[in-house]
C-alpha cells in the first residue's frame, strides 16, 4: 500500500496546508453548515431577478409568438440558437474534467470536478430552453418524442440532425446527472452524519440514499464511476458533434463544412474551461477553498485553454483556406465578404471572435500569466465572449446574405425579449449554482481524501525521507510488502 502512496516531490501538491482527513471534511462541509454570507444573498437575489426577467421574456414570446424576437425569414435562428450552442459548449468542460481526466488519471481533477459537473448540468438545462421555446407552439414540444400517436402513428424523422439533437442533449443531461449524483452520495452521507439540526438530518438523510461506506459498496461505486466515465467520454464528443451536424449537414455556404465536428468539440471544451475558471476563482475565494483549488489547478486549466484555443484558431484558418481552395463562389463569398471583410455589416463580430479566441489565449504560454488569478479571471470572461461570438458569426453571417439579394438589407439585431431570454438563462444558471454551493459539498470530499496521502502538502514532505533511502531497501520494504497484500488468499 505504501508504494501506491508515493508520488514524486517534483509534482506540486494538490492539497495545500497541513490537512488530515477530518480537516478536509471540516473545510469543505463548513460552508453548508454556516449561514450564507451577505454576498451570497446579494448574488442569489440578482440571479433570481434575472431569472424572473427571463420568465417574463419567455411569457411574451409564448403569448405573442416568435415575432417578439427580431429573427426573420433569412436569420431564423439568431440569438436563440447561438445561445443554445454556447450553453451546451460550456457544459462540455465539466464532463471533460469528470470523465476524460478520470480515464487519463489526472489527480488534479479531484479539486474541481464536483463544481464543474454541476456547471455541466445547469448549463445543459439552460441550453435546452432555447430550442424548446424556439418551437413557438411550445405546448406541442412533446411532438419531438417518438411515441405512438393518433396521427397514424406518424413517427419523427430519425434521419434529421435536429432529432439527433433531441436524443443527444437529453441523454447527455441524464448521464451527467447520474454521474454527478452517484459521486455526491458518499459526500452527502458525510454531511448527514455530522448534521446537528433536524432539517439537515432529514434532508441529507433522504438525499444520501442511506449510504454507509461499506467496502463492497465502494468497490461497486468505483466500477460504476469508471464505466460512466468511459461512457461519458464518447458521449461528450458525440453531443457537440451532433450539434455541429445541425449546421454541417445543411447546404448553406458557411455551414456545409466537414471540419465542424472536431472544431465544435474543441471550441466547446475551450469555452467550458473558461466558464469553469470564472466560477472556480469566485468559489475558492468566497468559500476559502484556496487549499483545494490551488494555483496549480488554475494553471492546469489554463494549459487546456491555450491548447483548445489554438485548435480552434487552427480550425478557423483551415476553414478559411478551404473556402478559398474549394473554389465554390458562394462558399468563398460567405467567408470573404460576410466574415473576413472588416467593413461588411458583421465584419466586426468576426474580428472580435478572432481576437478573443485565437490571439488573447496565447498569453497563457507564459507561466507567470497562467498562474496569475486576475489575468485568468479576465481571460476567462474574454474567452466566453469570444466563444459566444463564434456561434453568432457562424449562424448569422452565413445566412444574412442568402442566394436572394433582395433580402440582403436585413441587419439583424436582437429585441429586448431575446436579450431578456438570454439573461434569464443566466439567472437560471446562477440561481441553481448558488443553491448548489450552499446545500451541496462543492468539492468531492471522498475523492480529495483518496489523494490526500499521495498529493497532500504535509504528506509530501514526509515522503522526502523515502526518496533518500537506498533503492534495494526501498524495493524490499515497499514493493514486496505490497505484493503480499495483493496475494492474500484465505
Amino acid at each position: 500500500m505504501s508504494l501506491l502512496k508515493y508520488e514524486s516531490q517534483l509534482r506540486e501538491p494538490l492539497v495545500d496546508g497541513n490537512k488530515d482527513y477530518h480537516q478536509v471534511t471540516e473545510d469543505i462541509i463548513r460552508p453548508i453548515e454556516m449561514k450564507p454570507s451577505r454576498l451570497w444573498y446579494i448574488g442569489f437575489y440578482i440571479s433570481v431577478a434575472l431569472l424572473l426577467f427571463g420568465v417574463y421574456s419567455v411569457y411574451r414570446e409564448v403569448t405573442y409568438g416568435i415575432g417578439q424576437w427580431n429573427v426573420n425569414k433569412t436569420i431564423g435562428w439568431g440569438w436563440d440558437i447561438t445561445n443554445f450552442v454556447w450553453w451546451v459548449g460550456i457544459g462540455h468542460a465539466g464532463t471533460l474534467i469528470s470523465a476524460i481526466l478520470l480515464l487519463f488519471r489526472q489527480g488534479w481533477r479531484t479539486g474541481v470536478n464536483r463544481a464543474a459537473e454541476a456547471m455541466t448540468i445547469f448549463a445543459v438545462m439552460c441550453a435546452g430552453q432555447f430550442p424548446i421555446w424556439h418551437m413557438g407552439r411550445v405546448w406541442m414540444a412533446f411532438f419531438v418524442l417518438p411515441y405512438p400517436n393518433s396521427r397514424g402513428p406518424l413517427w419523427v424523422n430519425f434521419n434529421s440532425p435536429l432529432l439527433w439533437d433531441v436524443f443527444a442533449i437529453s441523454t447527455y443531461f441524464t448521464v451527467s446527472l447520474l454521474f454527478w449524483y452517484s459521486g455526491l452520495l458518499p459526500d452527502l452521507a458525510t454531511v448527514r452524519d455530522r448534521a446537528k439540526t433536524k432539517f439537515r438530518k432529514m434532508f441529507y438523510g433522504v438525499a444520501s440514499f442511506g449510504w454507509s461506506g461499506s467496502t463492497k459498496h465502494w468497490q461497486r461505486h468505483e466500477s460504476l464511476s469508471l464505466v460512466l466515465a468511459g461512457l461519458s467520454t464518447p458521449l461528450v464528443l458525440s453531443v457537440h458533434t451532433i450539434v455541429s451536424f445541425d449546421f454541417a449537414t445543411s447546404i448553406v455556404p458557411g455551414w456545409h463544412t466537414t471540419i465542424f465536428p472536431p472544431y465544435f468539440v474543441a471550441g466547446a471544451i475551450f469555452s467550458g474551461f473558461a466558464m469553469v475558471q470564472t466560477l472556480m476563482i469566485v468559489l475558492r475565494k468566497v468559500f476559502s477553498l484556496q487549499d483545494y483549488i490551488t494555483v496549480g489547478h488554475i494553471e492546469a486549466m489554463n494549459k487546456v485553454i491555450v491548447l483548445t484555443g489554438s485548435i480552434v484558431g487552427c480550425a478557423y484558418l483551415t476553414e478559411l483556406f478551404i473556402a478559398w481552395y474549394g473554389q465554390n463562389p458562394y462558399e468563398w463569398y460567405a467567408f470573404k465578404e460576410n466574415r473576413a471583410n472588416l467593413f461588411s455589416p458583421y465584419g466586426w463580430a468576426y474580428y472580435l471572435m478572432m481576437f478573443c479566441n485565437v490571439v488573447s489565449p496565447q498569453l497563457f504560454w507564459s507561466r507567470k500569466l497562467r498562474r496569475n488569478i486576475t489575468v485568468t479571471f479576465f481571460m476567462s470572461i474574454i474567452v466566453n465572449i469570444g466563444m459566444w461570438f463564434e456561434r453568432f458569426v457562424i449562424i448569422v453571417t452565413s445566412v444574412y446574405r442568402d442566394y436572394l439579394p433582395s433580402s440582403w438589407s436585413t441587419y439583424y439585431s436582437p429585441s429586448i425579449w431575446e436579450i431578456g431570454f438570454y439573461l434569464g438563462t443566466f439567472g437560471l444558471f446562477f440561481t441553481c449554482f448558488f443553491l448548489f454551493a450552499k446545500y451541496f459539498p462543492v468539492i468531492a470530499v471522498a475523492e480529495i481524501k483518496a489523494v490526500l496521502k499521495t498529493s497532500g502538502e504535509n504528506y509530501k514532505v514526509k515522503m522526502t525521507d523515502l526518496e533518500k533511502i537506498d533503492a534495494e531497501k526501498f524495493y524490499i520494504d515497499e514493493v514486496e510488502h505490497a505484493h503480499t497484500h495483493q496475494n492474500l488468499k484465505f
Binding site: 413517427w155 433522504v206 465502494w218 468497490q219 451532433i242
Partner: protein, 210 residues
C-alpha cells in the same frame, strides 16, 4: 402514512438480515487497518464489513471480496440499447410508415448511428446506476444502521460479527492489539428499512406493533 411505512417495513423485514451482535473497532489509519484485516481473518473471525470514508484501494482484496460484475451488467444494458434503437428505427422507417425522403433508401443505417449510439449510452448508464442502487440498497428514505458516525469522516470502522460461540471480550482484546482506537459491542439490524435520519434509530423489535 406511519402505518403504511410500518407495513412496508414489516414486508421488507423478510429481506433484512435480522438482528445480530457485532464487535466494532475503529481505526484512524489505513496503514494499521490493513494488517488488522489480515490478522482478524487469520484468527478466524468473520468480518461483517469495513466502512471507510473513501475507497481504500486493495481493501476489497484484503477482505477477500470478489470483483464486482457491475460492468458486465453495464455491457448487457448497452447492447439492449443498441438493439432497441436499431430495431425500432428499422421497423418505423421500413415497415410501419416508410417515408420517401428525397428518394433516399428507407433503411438509412448511417443516419441512425447517432441515435443508436445515444440510446446505447443512455440504457447503459441508467441501467447501471439503477443496478448499483439495487445492489447496494440505496434509495431515498432508506435507512440503515451505521456503526460509527465518523465512518464517513475520518475513521475506518470494522464490524466483526459475533455468533453464539464468539467470546466478545476476546475479540475486543484482539482488536485492541491490532491497533483499533475505539472498540465497542453493538446489537444491530443488518438490513435496511424505510425511515428518516432525524428520528431515533430503533430496532424492529422495540418498535410498537411488532
Amino acid at each position: 402514512m406511519h402505518t403504511l411505512i410500518r407495513i412496508l417495513n414489516f414486508e421488507f423485514n423478510i429481506m433484512a438480515g435480522g438482528i445480530k451482535k457485532f464487535v466494532v473497532g475503529s481505526f484512524d489509519d489505513e496503514k494499521v487497518l490493513f494488517p488488522a484485516v489480515k490478522n482478524v481473518r487469520k484468527a478466524g473471525y468473520k468480518i461483517h464489513d469495513v466502512y471507510t470514508p473513501f475507497p481504500v484501494h486493495g481493501l476489497d482484496h484484503a477482505m477477500g471480496i470478489r470483483e464486482t460484475s457491475l460492468h458486465t451488467a453495464g455491457f448487457i444494458y448497452a447492447i439492449t440499447g443498441t438493439t432497441t434503437a436499431l430495431t425500432f428505427m428499422s421497423w418505423v422507417f421500413t415497415k410501419d410508415w416508410p417515408l420517401n425522403i428525397g428518394g433516399k433508401p428507407n433503411f438509412a443505417l448511417p443516419a441512425w448511428i447517432p441515435i443508436t449510439f445515444e440510446l446505447t449510452v443512455l440504457f447503459s448508464a441508467v441501467g447501471m446506476v439503477l443496478t448499483f442502487c439495487y445492489l447496494c440498497n440505496l434509495a431515498p428514505f432508506v435507512k440503515k444502521h451505521h456503526f460509527h458516525p465518523r465512518a464517513t469522516d475520518d475513521l475506518f470502522v470494522m464490524a466483526i460479527e459475533c455468533t453464539d460461540k464468539t467470546n466478545d471480550a476476546e475479540v475486543q482484546a484482539f482488536l485492541q492489539k491490532a491497533g483499533a482506537q475505539e472498540i465497542n459491542v453493538q446489537v444491530a439490524e443488518t438490513g435496511w428499512w424505510i425511515g428518516r435520519y432525524h428520528k431515533e434509530q430503533k430496532l424492529y423489535k422495540e418498535e410498537k406493533g411488532y
